[in-house]
Chain length 274, copies 3
């Protein structure tokens, strides 16, 4: 059992390391969130590169510290590029984060997700519907917004995390991060975040940045969701609506201090018995 | 003759119905406005899905309540996808809204628009230049911004609406919504909205959301433009420039109340004699 | 030697001319910055058109006053379209601006850049790493953010500008604009601008707008970077972070006055001896 006190300061120190190292992160994401995801990476202190060009994936893969792959707005070129980038990351032992947007919404997305799972993402950041679709290998959920409560799906996720040797970072009313051995429950964030498109995609992007500087992917994901949730919560408190929230989240990611994390982090950690 | 008083409360109740039902709207739009259009749909209370992937159009078409098709930033994949999505919508008797961006600017866009018109959009949301290009089957207008005053083109539009069995929702200094039998003239909005890219595209997107819950497409379009115009006008009054305006419009779409609509709606409705 | 006093009023008058003429600018840019670049063009007073569709490049090329080509997020369709648009601009003697995003980061980008250089951009707006890659025909720099100080590369740039018969507009801590005969050093802007994605892309976009109304490309680039730097600096002073900065820059581009330019411009100009 890790105490929240300890974790808050640990998270702050991981964030500081990220800002010091300014890791180069290759973000193969969807067209809806490209701008805000690049901005989220810059705001947290990383250096984003956004490219699906097959001609340069190999070179970019050599240069970057981590990769983020998001399956929104797919086409035949970008599917191939995402698979190639994931393969390059795996073959060079660099961590990558998967965002399986709407994985259960269509058979096509589920198929693409399954092909990507074979290439061993370090972390899968998704909502509860997407997590269930992955864990149970079946379609479900309508569209890209989640209908499932995170609470109901935990035992399934622990098992899937062990089987896939990955970390599930499932965001919702509460956030859950499990590698099958350890579980963190984070209770930061704000309901208005669901009214901004791509908040999940942004959290996956910065999870990629944390993976670049923290070797334990479970801790990287916990730190990422903690930082993102606190930034979102502080931003929501000063936002009249979701338009303001989208930009104030970037402001908060940029200015977030160790004190902000200490004061606001709400986390419970536990070791799981198999 | 519908009085404005009556219509304001009717519009507020349509908006409430939209928020209660949270319809899933498939938005095949251009790359410039994808983020802000998804955010506009979320802000008004809908659930957006943004995809041009041919592999999932059929499944998405079954799942959604309405579709929006916007012809900015075309390529050979997206043209085919837009035509397919429109055909699926028509064949399943679900409403779809067309945004013929720059329809008169190039022969290519006019051709794509004409192919889409064959698939019977419930509403065409456009500016005056685009409306004339469609109604007269000819090129005109420079670029994607409008040079024509909405006022001059009304008789042409009434005829075209009857011939195409659609609703023209033409935005500009005043907004006009005609199905050839009924005309609404809306005088909300603010000139600064023309300095924000994709305000038209956003209004088409939310028109798609209103089509999902209001069976009369003329009323859906009137409600949509009324809500959008009032949100834009209130947002402009508190914006130092177009950057602020883009986000404050999202805030206002999210928070708009029945009282806001009652206080600010400026509408004239009339029955047309053929 | 041009005095700053003189240049401030000259710049203000070029800006006024731009706002009066509202030139149509074709912007073939990357997917990350499409929205904000279109908004920057609108905010400065231009009318943007954003399209890579091969079917309409010829018609658009005839209609527009200038073109902007940015090589971020390339694919095989967009590379071909950018080359075609540049060729059309050259053949019709219309100015075009090049943004060689990450030119030194991969061999692919360097190759595409070199093919575009053959088509004679009026201005190359880039950072120091990209400028060196172009001037020395070699790879270097990591990712799309610059590692090189502008100050070190000036002699190389003067030579390259003469050889390529173009203007280098290199942004960084200071901005440098050289055509090999004349050098302007601009010291506006703010460090936080580097934490917003695509500020460089935006400055290239508005440089394209200035090229449309100012025949001397060196002066167009100086005016563009002066206006953009001052707008960014004023915006940064009122921004809590990079999210706010992105939108307040648009507000400031829209509202910038001759007085703002007079009060804030920091420029040194000199004639170069060959």
């Amino acid at each position: 059992m890790t105490t929240a006190q300890f974790t808050a300061s640990e998270i702050a120190s991981v964030l500081q390391k990220l800002r010091d190292h300014k890791p180069l992160v290759h973000n193969l994401t969807n067209q809806v969130v490209m701008n805000v995801s690049a901005n989220a990476l810059l705001a947290i202190g990383a250096s984003p590169i956004m490219s699906h060009a097959p001609e340069e994936l190999e070179e970019l893969g050599m240069a970057v510290s981590s990769t983020v792959i998001n399956i929104g707005t797919l086409d035949n070129v970008t599917v191939a590029s995402k698979l190639t980038a994931a393969r390059i990351a795996r073959d060079s032992n660099k961590p990558w984060a998967l965002d399986p947007v709407g994985a259960g919404a269509t058979q096509f997305r589920l198929d693409v997700t399954n092909r990507l799972l074979d290439l061993r993402p370090a972390v899968i950041r998704c909502n509860a519907s997407e997590a269930i679709a992955i864990a149970l290998h079946q379609r479900g959920g309508s569209g890209v917004d989640s209908n499932d409560s995170s609470d109901e799906v935990l035992p399934v996720l622990h098992r899937a995390a062990r089987n896939l040797q990955t970390v599930f970072a499932v965001t919702g009313r509460h956030d859950y991060v499990t590698d099958g051995q350890r579980l963190a429950k984070l209770s930061n964030g704000h309901p208005m975040m669901a009214a901004v498109t791509g908040t999940g995609c942004q959290s996956t992007a910065i999870t990629g940045a944390f993976l670049a500087i923290e070797q334990d992917p479970w801790l990287a994901a916990v730190a990422s969701l903690a930082v993102f949730g606190i930034a979102g919560q502080l931003a929501a408190e000063e936002s009249a609506g979701p338009g303001s929230l989208q930009l104030k989240m970037l402001d908060r990611l940029y200015t977030l201090t160790a004190e902000d994390i200490e004061q606001h982090l709400v986390i419970e950690c536990q070791n799981l018995s198999e």
